[in-house]
């Protein structure tokens, strides 16, 4: 029972079918003269339309990249370089994905100033904080749509309005939200938006940056002039075709999946919180992705929790220090105001379209058992 869909998803069989011809018969380079390349060209155009449709953009506003990380890097560095004469101040939040956070850290080394907006107890930024942070030399606001750990959804339409009023470029990392909740780049006044294919049942190694017409971030990857001279490199046609198909499927099933996943999510949350002592939900109970559950349990550690659930056939993840290479607890969870010892016992379940209400029963039971087992050997647990 795979419940780590925020890390990555399996590829939908229909997506794979869409990709296959481009590995073998239709492998031609999209920029060649001869007929073999024509199908590639068509696939490229179709995929561009499908990605655009999912976020209400125009096809020519979609540029393909190697994934969400590259899209984030391109958007932020691209604007930082392009607007360096206008200003060097960027506003972001403390809970952005490392692709945004570490890009900002690098820009700090180059002399940029970054404001990292705090989050409230529910994981959401305070709009007043944003307003106060804006300066004359602010060139970019980069705020994620939904957080990858706690699933909280930021008020991007309000933010977009403020950005527009202040004539500041607005970038949204929508890697976790795209295809899961409604998203409209026009309505939300978004200038740049990052998407990744492997979070929505598409292949890995492909993503896109939506770039609003008229916005021109400096190029990150120079070369042969593909993607309208904005992102070079021979186009990954199978990947692009698969990504496009994944977007179309996500679009067609958005409402139904939301309804279904919300039910499963709420069942798991209710089941665990009502049956496990000292269990809490991280993040906002309402303003969260339909597929995200993030618990914390006192007196136990997340890596062992995840490993024991794995032994029971459930794949999940944790923000515990022990599970990271750096032995530091999740900065998203500590930003919520949690003490490191409480971050220790965190558990993220990120549901996928294949999960069912029966899965919820199993996972609730297994969590109860595993938490009890670990607590029985914990020196911090006295019952």
């Amino acid at each position: 029972m795979y419940m780590d869909n925020s890390a990555t998803t399996p590829v939908n069989p229909e997506v794979l079918k869409e990709m296959e011809p481009f590995y073998k018969e239709e492998f031609g380079n999209a920029s060649t003269l001869y007929s073999l390349g024509r199908e590639s060209k068509k696939a490229l155009n179709l995929a561009r339309e499908r990605v655009a449709n999912l976020i209400n953009a125009e096809p020519e506003e979609i540029k393909f990249t190697s994934g969400g990380t590259e899209s984030d890097n391109w958007a932020i560095k691209g604007i930082a370089f392009q607007k360096r004469n206008k200003g060097k101040h960027i506003i972001t939040s403390v809970i952005e994905h490392p692709a945004v956070k570490n890009t900002c850290k690098w820009l700090e080394k180059l002399g940029y100033e970054i404001t990292y907006l705090p989050i409230q107890e529910n994981g959401i930024i305070n709009i007043e904080d944003l307003k106060k942070a804006i300066r004359d030399d602010t060139i970019l606001i980069s705020i994620m749509h939904a957080n990858n750990e706690i699933g909280t959804i930021q008020p991007i339409t309000e933010i977009g309005k403020i950005a527009k009023e202040n004539n500041i470029i607005f970038h949204v990392d929508a890697v976790q939200s795209v295809g899961k909740i409604p998203l409209d780049v026009k309505k939300s006044n978004i200038d740049l938006l990052s998407i990744s294919s492997h979070k929505i049942y598409g292949p890995k190694g492909i993503g896109a940056l939506y770039i609003k017409k008229g916005v021109r971030p400096e190029v990150l990857i120079h070369g042969g002039g593909q993607e309208n001279n904005q992102r070079s490199g021979t186009e990954n046609i199978p990947g692009i075709a698969g990504f496009g198909k994944a977007c179309q499927i996500a679009n067609d099933n958005l409402e139904e999946n939301t309804r279904k996943l919300t039910k499963i999510r709420n069942k798991i949350i209710k089941g665990v919180l009502s049956q496990v002592d000292e269990a809490y939900l991280n993040g906002d109970p309402e303003k969260r992705l339909p597929n995200n559950v993030n618990f914390r349990f006192s007196a136990i550690e997340g890596e062992s929790l995840v490993l024991m659930l794995d032994a029971k056939g459930i794949e999940a993840s944790t923000g515990s220090a022990c599970s990271s290479q750096s032995l530091e607890p999740s900065y998203v969870l500590t930003s919520l105001g949690l003490e490191p010892v409480n971050v220790h016992g965190s558990l993220r379940l990120s549901l996928g379209v294949e999960n069912t209400l029966e899965d919820a029963d199993k996972v609730i039971n297994d969590i109860i058992n595993v938490v009890n087992t670990l607590r029985s050997m914990s020196p911090l647990w006295n019952s």
């Binding site: 007196a299 032994a311 515990s320 599970s323 290479q325 050997m377 020196p379």
Partner: protein, 125 residues
């Protein structure tokens, strides 16, 4: 990530629990990641560890090394047990990932502390 032996000791930890009125007990915290481990020992008149139990709040490696060290220490004299080094525990488990080596330190330190606690009690008796 972990060897089969680590996973075995993690999934089926030996000697978990508490000894009431132990001969010695030692608790150490892990400054690196904030974990906690307590080892309880019973020592007989020949200075042999006849019973040992642990409680651990920590990762898979912390639990497995706790379990492993209890198996390594039981039946040994306290002098022999004090010689169990941090690396011995890791080796006995067919190795640990580099980032997890500090967890085996935790186990060795907790055992040492429990033995020292026993020795202090003896000295004060």
């Amino acid at each position: 990530m972990y060897s089969e032996k680590v996973m075995d000791h993690f999934a089926n930890p030996r000697n978990t629990g508490v000894i009431e009125n132990p001969s010695g007990e030692g608790t150490v915290g892990n400054p690196t990641c904030g974990d906690l481990m307590t080892i309880y020992i019973t020592v007989n008149d020949e200075n042999v560890i006849t019973d040992i139990k642990f409680k651990t709040f920590g990762c898979g490696a912390a639990i497995a090394t706790s379990s492993m060290i209890t198996e390594m220490a039981i039946g040994k004299t306290i002098d022999e047990a004090l010689k169990i080094s941090r690396n011995d525990v890791a080796e006995e488990l067919d190795g640990l990932p580099p980032v997890k080596m500090h967890c085996s330190n935790l186990a060795a330190d907790a055992l040492t502390k429990a033995i020292e606690n026993y020795q202090e009690k003896q000295a004060n008796a």
